[in-house]
């Protein structure tokens, strides 16, 4: 027994407890910061619900969801004619769907075929060049796409329409949809690429063994096996298209037309949110509150798509691991 033994232990003791309480503080700090993400969701749902409930006190929910006329200008005077404010959101929903549908028609084939080529055909060096280029497309700010759609593509389409003899609106759904399609292409291609790469090589080898060509193998074996992952990617892309704001604010119109003609101008949920809330306005008018109701619908729809997509992707990933 050396005398220094117990002594050093007694010196170490208090610092040890100090350290322990310090570590507790750190742990609680970490827990608190991970709560911020949860609180953000609570804040989003809370603020959207709170303002929407105010809105639905003035405008019945059914009028909002099924009404066919959208003109949110409320009357300045009581006796004013024709601006009582109509909050039927159906034209906005159809407009959003039309533009998103055009975007998906562009993005799904391009994204999927690009992913197939990169995963199955391209040499390593080609892949190393092409993939970053596609990632650049994903990294370009949406305001740049919007600028391109509104000031470059829309005039071209208009000119082409004039040359071909039919009228294309300068704020056509087509211009916004085409550019949006290119914007979400990298999302589909990278998630499809992951899904295709996750298909075990043995399945391909089996197919080659019975004499199938490469494209037959891809079509009949690889794609069906990768389908859930691809679907997940497509759903995520659809959610992105529905929630996209800047492209449609700049390239699509404000007129709430109920139409399925891609050459006409339509408006979307996000465009209306931006127009209703930018500039000065009193906060509790039905016009302003309607933006939050639209926001709530947007949030719920994208949430459902995201949960579905993430679940499919996750389940699928576990399948081959």
């Amino acid at each position: 027994m050396t005398p220094s033994g117990p002594k050093s232990l007694s010196v170490g003791q208090p610092s040890r407890t100090l350290q322990k309480s310090g570590e507790k503080v750190i742990k609680w700090l970490l827990i608190a910061s991970s709560l911020v993400a949860v609180l953000t969701t609570v804040g989003i749902v809370g603020s959207l619900l709170f303002e929407s409930i105010h809105f639905f006190k003035e405008v019945p929910l059914t009028d909002f969801l099924f009404g066919l006329k959208w003109s949110p200008q409320t009357a300045m005077r009581v006796d004013q004619v024709g601006s009582s404010g109509a909050f039927g959101a159906v034209p906005l929903f159809t407009g959003t769907l039309l533009i998103s549908a055009i975007a998906m028609v562009v993005a799904v084939p391009i994204g999927l075929f690009a992913a197939i080529y990169l995963a199955e055909y391209a040499h390593g060096s080609v892949r190393n060049w092409i993939k970053p280029l596609l990632e650049i497309l994903a990294g370009i700010p949406t305001v740049v796409y919007g600028f391109f759609a509104a000031l470059v593509l829309a005039p071209w389409l208009r000119g082409a329409g004039d040359a071909a003899g039919f009228e294309v609106s300068s704020e056509s759904a087509l211009a916004a949809g085409l550019v949006m399609g290119i914007m979400i292409t990298p999302l589909i291609s990278s998630l499809s690429d992951d899904a295709i790469n996750a298909v075990p090589q043995a399945m391909r080898d089996g197919s080659f063994g019975v004499g199938a060509t490469k494209s037959e193998t891809i079509r009949n074996v690889v794609l069906p096996a990768a389908l859930p992952g691809i679907m997940g990617g497509i759903l995520l892309a659809a959610s992105r298209a529905i929630g996209e704001t800047m492209i449609v604010v700049m390239a699509a119109g404000l007129a709430a037309n109920l139409t399925a003609n891609p050459f006409e101008a339509v408006t979307t949920v996000t465009v209306q949110i931006v127009t209703l809330l930018t500039g000065d306005q009193e906060f509790d008018s039905a016009k302003t509150l309607s933006a939050f109701a639209l926001g709530l619908v947007l949030f719920l729809i994208t949430l459902v798509l995201n949960v579905l997509a993430l679940n499919i992707v996750k389940k699928y990933r576990e399948q081959y691991e």
Partner: protein, 417 residues
């Protein structure tokens, strides 16, 4: 036997078709990639061609007399007008004089003001100075306004063109580097508009965003990856974070408006609020990247640290964190790059106002670079369209720099365990 030969014949006959299908399938893939890359190139080319002109601005060498009377009255534009009248003594009618003044930028006087401020001894002297022209003359010099178009259909009259031609004959009109574009705030006059105000607004917003989201992000990631027990609660947090990463950015704008502006009564248009909204938006991205970085650190590091007596907190802070930090930083830079390009939530919290002054802090009203692009894209003047493209080029340069530095960081610290 007979049956077999027909079978192989049938296969032989079909083979050509199948190989053609194979080729076709490959071409579909190549075409898809070609379309995507062609779009990228066309977009960059369209923006580049439009925007590159804005880095230069037409200047006119004008002989002006910095007489004391005007200097005393602070009427700098008056000096410019006098100079124009002296250069074209034949112009006498009121209307023509007005047109003549419009050849020069309405901000040309400011240049004289700064000149005199720098060298006060110039007062009373006559001097030839290069001063900016108006945006229409600028467009004419750059060829964006076509001289051959009928006079009624173009923004520059025949008289103005004649004056410009006189300057050209004297070699007194030149394209100079557009310094103002990089040093000025917004303006209603395209030739005076600059992006410094927007850049500073973006800078302050990103600073707030980084200060909030980086520590919060890595701390949540540390908790979730290293300390949290695997239970329903942490599952919920994880699902929640993954979903937040996919929520449309405009919804964050609505949150910022309802929460920060209306409940906390924070100032509208301030980079502080913009940064807070961007921080909430980037947080999930940073958490996901930071968790991936922590997961990439092999368990043997933790086991070794715990084995020699480190506490769990010490293990994480002293041993795991330093190894995961480069990965976390890479993810954070990419998140910041996304935040820099984000426009929609900033529109919601009022960072969309017309602001001339360059902001000097996080409470000053400001816009951001992408919002400035959005505002200019709406302006009808041809010269603003040029400046919009130039601002996009600047924004893309910032984004590319951030992305390259993130890639380099990853390459430099990448480890294979």
């Amino acid at each position: 036997m007979n049956n077999q030969s027909t079978n192989s014949e049938r296969i032989q006959a079909g083979l050509k078709k199948r190989y053609r299908a194979e080729k076709r399938f490959q071409y579909y893939g190549i075409t898809a990639i070609a379309i995507a890359i062609a779009f990228l190139l066309v977009m960059f080319a369209a923006i580049g061609i439009r925007g590159v002109g804005a880095f230069q601005q037409t200047h006119i060498a004008l002989t002006v007399t910095l007489d004391e009377a005007h200097v005393q009255d602070n009427d700098w534009q008056g000096i410019v007008k006098d100079g124009m009248r002296n250069a074209f003594p034949e112009v006498t009618s009121r209307r023509d004089k007005k047109l003549l003044y419009m050849v020069m930028s309405s901000g040309a006087g400011f240049d004289l003001q700064t000149l005199v401020k720098e060298t006060p001894s110039l007062v009373g002297q006559t001097k030839t100075v290069w001063l900016p022209s108006s945006d229409d003359i600028d467009m004419l010099m750059k060829g964006s306004i076509d001289r051959t178009v009928a006079a009624d259909d173009r923004r520059v009259s025949d008289k103005e063109i004649a004056w410009v031609d006189q300057f050209i004959a004297k070699d007194a009109i030149e394209l100079h580097f557009n310094k103002r574009f990089f040093t000025g705030g917004d303006s209603r006059e395209p030739e005076l508009a600059g992006i410094l105000g927007a850049i500073m607004g973006s800078f302050y917003s990103l600073m707030v965003c980084f200060i909030l989201s980086f520590p919060l992000g890595i701390m949540s990631a540390m908790y979730l990856e290293e300390f949290a027990a695997k239970n329903k609660w942490t599952d919920l947090v994880e699902v929640n974070i993954n979903n937040l990463a996919a929520v449309p950015s405009i919804v964050y704008g609505l949150l910022g408006m309802a929460l920060f502006l209306n409940m906390f009564i924070l100032p509208r248009s301030a980079p502080l609020v913009g940064g807070m909204v961007l921080a909430l938006m980037t947080l999930p991205t940073i958490i996901i990247a930071a968790r991936a970085a922590l997961r990439a650190v092999p368990p043997s590091i933790r086991e070794a640290a715990l084995g020699i007596g480190a506490s769990p907190v010490q293990t994480v802070l002293h041993h795991v964190m330093p190894l995961a930090l480069p990965g976390m930083l890479t993810g954070t830079i990419l998140g910041m790059a996304r935040a820099l390009g984000e426009t929609a939530p900033l529109l919601m919290i009022g960072m969309v106002a017309f602001i001339v002054d360059v902001p000097t802090g996080i409470m000053d009203p400001a816009t951001a670079l992408p919002v400035q692009i959005f505002l200019w894209a709406d302006s009808p003047e041809r010269a603003f369209s040029e400046r919009t493209s130039a601002a996009i080029i600047v924004l893309l340069v910032f984004l590319i720099t951030m992305n390259i530095s993130a890639t380099l960081l990853r390459k430099m610290f990448e480890r294979r365990w």
